[in-house]
Amino acid sequence: MNKHSMLSEIWRRFRKNRQAVAGLIVLVLFVVVAVFAEQLAPFGYDDQDASRAMIAPCLEFPFGTDNLGRDVLSRLLYGSRYSLSIGFLAVGISVLTGGFLGVIAAYYPKLDNIIMRCMDLFMAIPQMLLAMCIVTALGSSLFNLMLAVGLSSTPKFARVVRASVLATREQEFVEAARAIGAGNWRIILHHILPNSISALIVQATLAMAGAIISASALSFLGFGIQAPMPEWGAMLSAGRKYIRTQAYLTVIPGLAIMVVVYALNVVGDGLRDCLDPRLKK
C-alpha cells in the first residue's frame, strides 16, 4: 500500500517533466522496434544484392542502401537490438559489480579503504582505454563488449552506492533492525538497499546513455560486434569512407545513436529530479 503510493507519487512528479516524458516515449518506441525488428524490417540485415548497392534514400529504401546493397533501414532496426541490449546489460553488469562493492565498502569499514582505493586506481585509467584493454584481452564479441563497457564503469557505481549506503546505515531504522538481532545481509538487502536505490537508478539511467556511446565508439574502432551484425557504431564506421559522397550512411546511424542517448539523458534527468529527496516538498 505504502509502496504503491510512493511509486504513483514518483510518477506524478515525473509526468510534470514534459521533456522526460517525451524521452520515455522515444525509449519505449525503440524497445518496441528492437523486439519486433523481424516483423518491422522490410529486408533481412544481411540481404546483399550487388545490383542495388548505394541507392540514396527513396521510397523503396527510406534510408538508402549500403555498398553491399543492404537496406539501411532494416539494418538500423536490427541494430537497435544490439545497441539497446548493450546499454541495458552493460549497465546491469556495472550495477551488480559496482553496487556489490559499494555496499561492502560502506557496510564493512575495514574493507572500505581497500576496495575504494582499488576503485580509485581504476578511475585513474580513462574509461575508454580500460574498455579497450578488456576487449583486447578477451577478444571481440558481443558479450565481451558488454563486459568491457560494464566493468569499466564499475568504479562510478561503487562510489555512488557507497555514499548513499553510508548515509542510510546511520538511520534509526537500521539501528532498530540491528537491535532486534537482524543479520548483516538481512539489514543490507531489506533495509539499506531499498532506501538507497534511488541514487542507483538515476546513475544507471545516465550511465546507459554513456554505455551506448562507449559501445558504439568501440564498435567504430573495430573492437565490437563482428560483421555482418548491424551495430550502430559499426555501421557508422563502415560508412565513414563514403561520407563525402553517400553521407546518409553515416548520418542515419549517427542520428539513431544521438536520439537514443538524448532520450536516456532526459529520462535520467527527469528521474533524478523526482527521486531526489532534497526536492521533496
Partner: protein, 532 residues
C-alpha cells in the same frame, strides 16, 4: 531564458575556438608547404623547394635492415638508403643504381659487381666494395636475412675499391631480385661502427635524401643530400611526410594545398580527384594478389573438392565491384600478370584463363555433396583488421551460406590475427596477400613450399617443393618459364588458394608536381620529382 543564453554563449565560444584553430592550421600549412600559394600564384615555382606528402601511417623505425618492412616505412627509408640494383616498375627491368654493372661467371655461381665511381655516404665516407660486403654481412645477421640467400659471404671478396665478387653456394637466379629488394641496402662500415650499430642515431646511407627531424606519430622530414652522385638529383630539396591516417582527410589535404602528394588515395575519392583539374592521379597495379585460402592441415579443407566447391561459390567479379570502389581489379590469375613468367599474362605460351573455377553454385553444391558435405558445414573466416578485407568477408560469408556453408567472421587486430594464422594455425578460411615481393616469381613460388613462412595455409607436397627448387636453379630463361608455369598450373589445379583481387597503388598529387614514379616494392622514387 538565462539557461538558453548560457548555452548560446558557450556555443559561440566553441565556434570561436574552432575557427581560431583552423586559422592557425591554415597559416602553418602555408609556411610549411614552402609558401605554396605565393609561388604558384606568380607562375615562378622555382622558389618552391619543399614537397609535403600526406602519408597513411608513420615510419615504424629508422633501421633499414632489421626494421619494419611495412609499405609506409619502406616508402620513407628507400629515400635515405639505396640498393645496388634498381628495379623499375612496371617494365620490371633491373637498372644500375649503386652498382654500375654486374656479371655472372659461366656456371652462375659467382656474381661480380662493380660500383659506380664517387658514391658518397651521408657521413662523408666514400662507399667501397668493402662497405658493401660488410653491409651484406649485417643483412645476413638481420631479420631480413633471406635477401642474402645462397650467398657464401665467407668466400665472397673485394677485388679492388670498387669491385667485389659474391660467391654463391649454388646457382640462384633470384639473387638479382634480392639485391634490388629495398632492405638490401649498402652503407658505410665506418659510420656503422662509430655509432655502434644504433640505427636511430646514424645517417650512413647513400640515398638522395638524409634524415631530418622525425616527430613520432605526426611527421618525418628529409633533407636533400648535396653530394648525391647524380647531378641535379634530388630536384626538390626538402620532403616532409605528414601522417594522416583518415583516408578522406588525406585527399582533402591535396585539394586544399596542405600537401603536394597524397599516398593511397581511397577509391571513393577517385571521382573527386579526377574531376579536379589541379590534381593528377597516379595509378599502377601492384604485384600482389589478395587471396582466400584454407587450413590445409585439417578436414574438410584437405579435400580438394571442398576447396574447389568454395572457389566455385565465390563470384570474384561482383565482389570486386561492391567492395573495392574501383581500386585494383578482380584477380587475373594465380599471380598478377605483371610478374615475369606469370601465366596470367595474355601473351604467355602457357596462358590460362582465370577464374579457373567460374562462379557456379550448382557445381559448388555438387562438389560439396561428392566430398560428403551435402548439407555444408560451419567454419570460421579470419578477415584481419583491414576494412576492405572485412567487406570481402561479409560478401563471401553471404555467398557461402548459399551452398550451406555457415561462416562466422572473425575480425582481429593485425597482431592477434597474424598470431592465429601464422603461429597457432587456429583458423579455417582467411584472406592474405601473395606477391613476388622482390620482383622475382621465385618469391611467390615459395608460398607453396613446405614450411615456408608465407605458407600460412599449410600446404605440403614434396613434388611441389622439388619443382620450386629446380626452377630457382635454372639459368636458362625459357626453361625457367616453363617450370614456373607448371608450378602455377599445379597450384591452380589443386586449388591451393583462390586469388580474389589484385591491389593497385593509387596516389594523387598537385598538377605542378612532375616526374612522380614508382620503384621496387611500391616505393616512389622521389629523387625524380620536381615542381613546374
Amino acid at each position: 531564458m538565462k539557461k538558453s543564453l548560457h548555452r548560446i554563449l558557450a556555443m559561440a565560444a566553441c565556434l570561436c575556438l574552432l575557427l581560431t584553430a583552423c586559422g592557425g592550421n591554415g597559416d602553418s600549412n602555408g609556411s610549411g608547404g614552402g609558401s605554396d600559394g605565393a609561388s604558384s600564384g606568380d607562375g615562378t615555382s622555382g622558389g618552391k623547394d619543399t614537397m609535403v606528402i600526406a602519408a597513411q601511417a608513420d615510419m615504424a623505425d629508422k633501421d633499414p635492415i632489421n626494421g619494419s618492412t611495412t609499405n609506409d616505412t619502406i616508402k620513407i627509408k628507400a629515400q635515405v638508403y639505396e640498393t645496388l640494383i634498381e628495379r623499375t616498375v612496371p617494365d620490371q627491368e633491373y637498372r644500375p643504381l649503386l652498382a654500375e654493372k654486374w656479371e655472372f661467371n659461366d656456371d652462375a655461381t659467382e656474381l661480380t659487381i662493380t660500383l659506380r665511381e664517387g658514391i658518397q655516404c651521408h657521413n662523408g665516407e666514400t662507399l667501397t666494395a668493402e662497405d658493401c660486403l660488410f653491409s651484406l654481412q649485417c643483412l645476413r645477421e638481420s631479420a631480413n636475412k633471406s635477401v642474402t640467400d645462397h650467398m657464401d659471404l665467407e668466400k665472397s671478396y673485394a677485388v679492388d675499391e670498387r669491385t667485389f665478387v659474391i660467391v654463391m653456394d649454388e646457382p640462384y637466379m633470384p639473387i638479382i631480385a634480392n639485391l634490388s629488394y629495398p632492405t638490401c641496402v649498402m652503407f658505410s662500415k665506418k659510420g656503422y661502427e662509430e655509432a655502434n650499430g644504433d640505427w636511430a642515431n646514424m645517417d650512413v646511407g647513400t640515398g638522395p635524401y638524409t634524415w631530418g627531424e622525425w616527430s613520432i606519430g605526426s611527421s618525418v622530414k628529409l633533407i636533400g643530400f648535396d653530394d648525391y652522385y647524380v647531378e641535379g638529383q634530388p630536384a626538390i630539396k626538402n620532403v616532409e611526410f605528414k601522417v594522416i591516417s583518415e583516408d578522406g582527410n588525406r585527399y582533402i589535404e591535396v585539394e586544399t594545398g596542405g600537401a603536394d602528394l597524397c599516398y593511397n588515395l581511397s577509391g571513393v575519392d577517385i571521382a573527386a580527384a579526377e574531376a579536379n583539374a589541379d590534381v593528377e592521379i597516379f595509378r599502377e597495379f601492384t604485384m600482389d594478389n589478395c587471396y582466400l585460402s584454407f587450413n590445409h592441415r585439417n578436414s574438410p579443407f584437405n579435400d580438394v573438392r571442398v576447396r574447389q566447391a568454395i572457389a566455385y561459390a565465390l563470384d570474384i567479379d561482383s565482389a570486386w565491384q561492391v567492395c573495392m570502389d574501383g581500386v585494383g581489379q578482380p584477380a587475373k590469375g594465380l599471380l598478377p600478370d605483371n610478374i615475369t613468367d606469370s601465366i596470367a599474362k595474355q601473351d604467355s605460351p602457357y596462358h590460362v584463363d582465370y577464374p579457373v573455377y567460374q562462379y557456379n553454385l550448382e557445381k559448388a553444391k555438387e562438389l560439396l555433396a561428392e566430398a560428403g558435405y551435402p548439407n555444408g558445414f560451419s567454419c570460421r573466416y579470419h578477415v584481419g583488421h583491414m576494412a576492405l578485407r572485412q567487406a570481402y568477408g561479409e560478401f563471401f560469408a553471404n555467398a557461402l551460406s548459399q551452398i550451406g556453408i555457415n561462416v562466422e567472421i572473425v575480425a582481429l587486430d593485425a597482431a592477434t590475427n597474424a598470431q592465429a594464422l601464422k603461429v597457432e594455425h587456429n583458423f579455417d578460411i582467411y584472406t592474405w596477400g601473395i606477391a613476388a615481393t622482390n620482383g622475382d616469381i621465385d618469391f611467390a613460388n615459395r608460398f607453396f613450399y613446405t614450411d615456408n613462412a608465407n605458407n600460412i595455409f599449410g600446404y605440403s607436397d614434396p613434388e611441389m617443393d622439388a619443382m620450386v627448387d629446380a626452377a630457382a636453379k635454372e639459368p636458362d630463361a625459357a626453361k625457367r618459364s616453363e617450370m614456373n608455369a607448371a608450378i602455377q598450373q599445379k597450384a591452380l589445379d589443386e586449388c591451393i588458394i583462390v586469388p580474389i583481387y589484385q591491389q593497385e597503388d593509387i596516389h594523387c598529387h598537385t598538377a605542378s608536381l612532375k616526374g612522380f614514379c614508382n620503384g621496387a616494392f611500391q616505393s616512389p622514387l622521389l629523387k625524380y620529382c620536381y615542381f613546374e
